[in-house]
Each structure stands twice: as structure tokens, then as C-alpha cells.
Symmetry: D2
Subunit: 99 residues, 4 copies
């Protein structure tokens, strides 16, 4: 099952500035081969469902190990069976519709 | 890794009324032994990370099989390592703080 | 515009236990007349769009005033124009589909 | 109250391909002066709370007018009072932490 997902991990119980945690999580997602793209409120990833969820688990484990006592993550998760679609396809479809 | 999650699966490309899909997904989550609690905009579940993610995968597969060409799911996912916590604990903490 | 929403406010930069903040936010939503229903990972509310968004703003202001330097909130927001629907209708539709 | 938000509007009850709706919503957010940045699963915006919420309302109204009987939107909404922060600051902080 191919998925396109958007992941935002929020560390709680640490300071208000969390960029070191976000950077660590982004690195894990990118190294998992998930075509990770950071934006200002999360990270787009795509790949097999199991790979995405295994990488997300590693993010939680790594951020807890790095000192975050609590994490609250939000995920958007899209699957479709009518046609194949990549993250780049989604952006391109909007660009073309905007013409 | 114990997680408390909140899952909302939105079927796309079918009619505007989706209660049969929501019901099927809720049944899968409940039968997975995840202490599923339906609310008006999603379902609370708790359990081991792998069990939650395996059940969510079955929901996507079942709803696609039932005719939904596309699904857009949102998940809130909480983990903590400072103390054990259940869904009931979270509700109770607010009830007690409100006294 | 009538909306059904689900709101989860996550305080950052404070301790890992945030029930006093959650309780304060829930109180504001309930006192706004939004039929607020707490669950284990957020609060369901319903009402006019402006009322919901005004109450949510008051929540952010109150939690910052209470000491949270940063807040990360997630909102699910549903509107429909094909038929009127309440939070209770959504739950009932699933109950009936489950028969 | 300055906010950084991430908005994903999901049209229901129309076809599985929704790029025309996404494009219309993106246009409304961009024209509202909110520094809108599209990504593969939503749009980053920033600006005053009231401006963001007024633009989001116009998106819902426009998409209903365009034929979508139902919309399910998810929003991440961040505010902080410890220091000013823009969307560009958030990206830059991760870039710098990655060095």
C-alpha cells in the first residue's frame, strides 16, 4: 500500500524551541528513503505504508531518547486505488489547474 | 511502545454520507482490541504502536475494497515515557483539574 | 455557516503534564455555548463558524496568559450544505449503520 | 495574534480527483496576503488570526459554491509569545540545526 503522508511531531515537556528535535526527526524520515520534504509545519513523505510507519516509530524512539518526555504527533495519510499518484503529481495537478 | 491515538478516516470519491464506511472502520479498530471509543469527529484508540498501525492499515484496505477510491486520514498520536497513561487517565486528569 | 469541529490544543515549553491547560481550554469552549464534548485526544464542538473561531482564539490567549509560551493546535473542521447535521446525528448514523 | 498555520481542505461527495478545488482554495489563501506556500498535503499560511480564519471561511464557501456538498478540513495552528517567528524562521532553524 503506497501512501502519501504529512507528519508533524510536537515535543512536549521541553523548551518552546524544538528545532533540534524536528531536525532529528526529519533526518530519520529522509534516511528511510521516503522522499521527505520539510515545510513550515511538518514533513511530506511517501512510500510503502510499513516503511512510513516504521520510520515514524524510530522518530518517536529517537526523540524520547533525546530527552522529550512526551510527543504529540499529527499525521495526514492518503491512499488511493483509482490511479497511482506521487507527491510531485499532487503539486503538478494544482499547477496545471491554476493555468 | 504504548500509544494513545485519535483516528479520522475520510472517504473521498463516494457520496457525502459516509457512515457505512465510518462504521466499518470503527468495527475493525474495536475488534483489534484497541479500546476504541467513537466520538463525533474520529475514534480514540490505545494500544501497542504496531497493533494500532496494523489495524489502521486494515481499515484502509477494507474501505477501498468497499468502494472508496481514495481515503484521507488524520491521526493524532501520543507517546510518553515519563509515566504510563491511558485514555481514561487523560479524561480523569481533566475532571480532577476542573474541581 | 454551521460547523462541527474537533480541537486539540498542545501546550509546548511547559511540563509534560498539561491537564490544567486542557481543562482551562475546555471550560472556555463549553462556556461559549458550543456543545463541547471532551474525549481522550481533543474536544468536539459545534456552532457558528465565527463563534467557534472566536472561542478558540480566547483559548490561545488564556493559555498563553497562564504561562504556555507556545501552543500547537490541531483542528478538524467539517461543513456540509447537502443537509443539516449535528454531532449527535453523526454518532447516531454510525450506531444505526452498525445494526 | 500572529499565527502560522497549515491547512488541508478535503472535498467529499465529489470525484476522487480534487485538484480544481485545491487550486481554488489555494488562490483564496494566496490572495488574502497570507504568504501561502503549497505542499503535497496542504498549504502553509501565516498572518493575523482573524485574517487566516476569514480566508478559510471564504475557502469553504467557495468550494461549496463550486459543487462540493461536504468539506472536511484539518488545520495545524501555532502561536507563540516567547519570540516572534515566521514560516521562514522555522525552516531556517532546522537548516541551521542540521549543520
Amino acid at each position: 500500500m503506497h501512501v502519501i503522508a504529512d507528519i508533524c511531531i510536537v515535543p512536549m515537556g521541553v523548551g518552546a524551541s524544538v528545532s533540534t528535535y524536528v531536525t532529528a526527526a526529519y533526518g530519520i524520515l529522509a534516511e528511510a528513503g521516503l522522499n521527505a520534504r520539510l515545510h513550515a509545519y511538518g514533513t511530506n513523505v511517501e512510500g510503502p505504508y510499513e516503511d512510513v510507519m516504521a520510520a515514524l516509530r524510530r522518530c518517536h524512539e529517537a526523540l524520547h531518547d533525546a530527552g522529550a518526555p512526551r510527543l504529540s504527533t499529527t499525521i495526514r495519510l492518503g491512499t488511493r486505488v483509482d490511479k497511482p499518484q506521487t507527491m510531485a503529481d499532487k503539486i503538478r495537478a494544482v499547477d496545471e489547474a491554476a493555468l
